[in-house]
């Protein structure tokens, strides 16, 4: 049994009167790839953002391995949160690269400034990561000079440079053209093969089915159905899941 890297218990969150997360619980084991799917407004992005400490929950527990980040909606101190941020990486839908830094600086700034790692080591690692992302030779380019797909690959390299235990993707291909989508999906697939632990919020059902170990289907702030990837997509049990998958396949 591999160890649990992320554990979420009874997450609840409201935006004003609207409950966006209702009693959500799930966990992610080392090496596991989990996809979260569901219609717009189902709360899947909010769930991911809460896990990444970009937003806070009102109720529930959150822990990264042995690190208790939030207990019963009460967050731990600064140092614990800082520690937790070293355990995950986050890839945004709109990349959010730093426009005033070149590709190399985008990847190396955080390891150097936050983790205070050795410059030589960090730059060597960054070069390796960029090579892996197919971005060799782009080290000195600025984000504005890159295509969307290239920018997203830099963003993935930036997240990986922190050596996270778990990587979150928030709809990583939604802002991209279809042909650029494929290059990102390939990168994620490669990472999955390397046993990178990942949680992916996505609309690409087929991709989710192929790359994930497990899929979580969310609707109206609940986890409606959760299961092994291919069986959930091929044989959904819940009516909502069936409806959603039918709608997606029709559209696709």
């Amino acid at each position: 049994m591999s160890k649990e890297l992320l554990k979420i218990c009874n997450f609840s969150k409201t935006f004003g009167d609207l409950a966006v997360l209702k009693d959500i619980s799930f966990s992610v084991k080392e090496g596991e790839v989990v996809s979260i799917i569901g219609p717009s407004g189902s709360g899947k992005t909010t769930l991911l953002r809460c896990a990444a400490l970009l937003e806070s929950v009102e109720k529930g527990d959150l822990s990264y391995g042995d690190l208790q980040v939030c207990v019963q909606g009460v967050y731990a101190g600064k140092n614990v949160l800082k520690d937790a941020k070293n355990r995950f990486g986050f890839v945004f839908q709109n990349f959010h690269l730093f426009p005033h830094y070149n590709v190399m600086e985008n990847v190396t700034k955080a390891p150097l400034l936050v983790q205070k790692r050795d410059k030589k080591e960090v730059e060597e690692m960054a070069r390796q990561l960029l090579k892996k992302m197919g971005l060799s030779g782009k080290e000195n380019s600025y984000p504005c000079e890159l295509s969307g797909g290239q920018q997203q690959r830099v963003a993935i390299a930036r997240a990986l440079a922190m050596k996270p235990g778990i990587l979150f993707f928030d709809e990583p291909t939604s802002a991209l053209d279809p042909e650029l989508t494929q290059e990102i999906l390939k990168v994620i697939r490669d990472l999955a093969e390397e046993k990178m632990t990942m949680v992916i919020v996505t609309h690409e059902i087929n991709f989710a089915r192929n790359v994930s170990d497990r899929i979580i289907f969310m609707a109206d702030g609940y986890i409606v159905e959760e299961g092994e990837a291919s069986s959930l997509v091929d044989h959904p049990q819940n009516e909502r899941t069936k409806e959603f998958l039918a709608f997606i396949s029709q559209k696709g």
Binding site: K82, K85, L113, Q115, Y142
Partner: protein, 216 residues
């Protein structure tokens, strides 16, 4: 009066103008940042104090602020004034006034940075201070250069207001020479000085803008 001595008088005045100019920038630019922070404070009392401050500084004439800065200590608190306080009062009034304008420019620049930049920095573990100085501020600088250039050029011309506290800057010198010798030449010369000064300022700011043009 021969031209040589006229120009040397004007240059003396120019030196005073330049001094006011640089000292004001030196204090107003950083002070503006602090005021911008105060104005954006989550504490609504603090935010409102700075809001009122900015409103007063922008809503009253600089000349009045100069008089208040100089005469205020005596007329409000009965502190006898020294003549040497004169120049300091000019710098204080100019700095406080220009800081208010800069603060609003900074604020618009800071608030114009997409939230995603803060989030990206946040998930990478940057501290708020690191986030501001490494990620946000460099981008703000690029955004605020054009409006700040405007303010800086206005400042060059506003230095002539220092005369309301009897500080003899260039324009006052020009007026005096002109009235003493019934000639318009000092005004023309002063106009040329101002223009050249502003031209250099604009040129410098443009260069800076170009240097930051490498992204977006």
């Amino acid at each position: 009066m021969d031209y040589a001595s006229m120009f040397s008088e004007l240059l003396k005045g120019l030196l005073v103008s330049v001094e006011i100019f640089f000292l004001t920038l030196l204090f107003a630019l950083p002070l503006g940042l602090l005021i911008a922070f105060g104005r954006m404070s989550k504490n609504c009392i603090v935010a409102n104090i700075f809001r009122v401050y900015i409103s007063i500084m922008r809503g009253t004439p600089l000349m009045l602020q100069l008089l208040v800065c100089f005469f205020g200590p005596y007329y409000l608190f009965k502190i006898p004034l020294a003549s040497s306080y004169r120049f300091a009062a000019v710098i204080i009034a100019f700095s406080l006034n220009y800081a208010a304008y800069c603060a609003e420019i900074y604020r618009s620049g800071i608030q114009g940075i997409p939230a995603g930049q803060y989030e990206a920095a946040g998930v990478l573990g940057f501290t708020p201070v690191q986030t501001f100085f490494r990620i946000i501020f460099p981008q703000v600088v690029k955004r605020v250069i054009p409006p700040v250039t405007n303010e800086v050029i206005t400042l060059v011309k506003d230095t002539s207001l220092a005369f309301s506290l009897s500080v003899m800057e260039m324009f006052t010198m020009a007026k005096q020479i002109a009235s003493a010798h019934t000639t318009m030449i000092p005004f023309v010369a002063a106009g040329v000085f101002y223009y050249v000064f502003n031209f250099l300022v604009a040129f410098g700011m443009e260069r800076l803008e170009k240097r930051l043009d490498y992204y977006r």
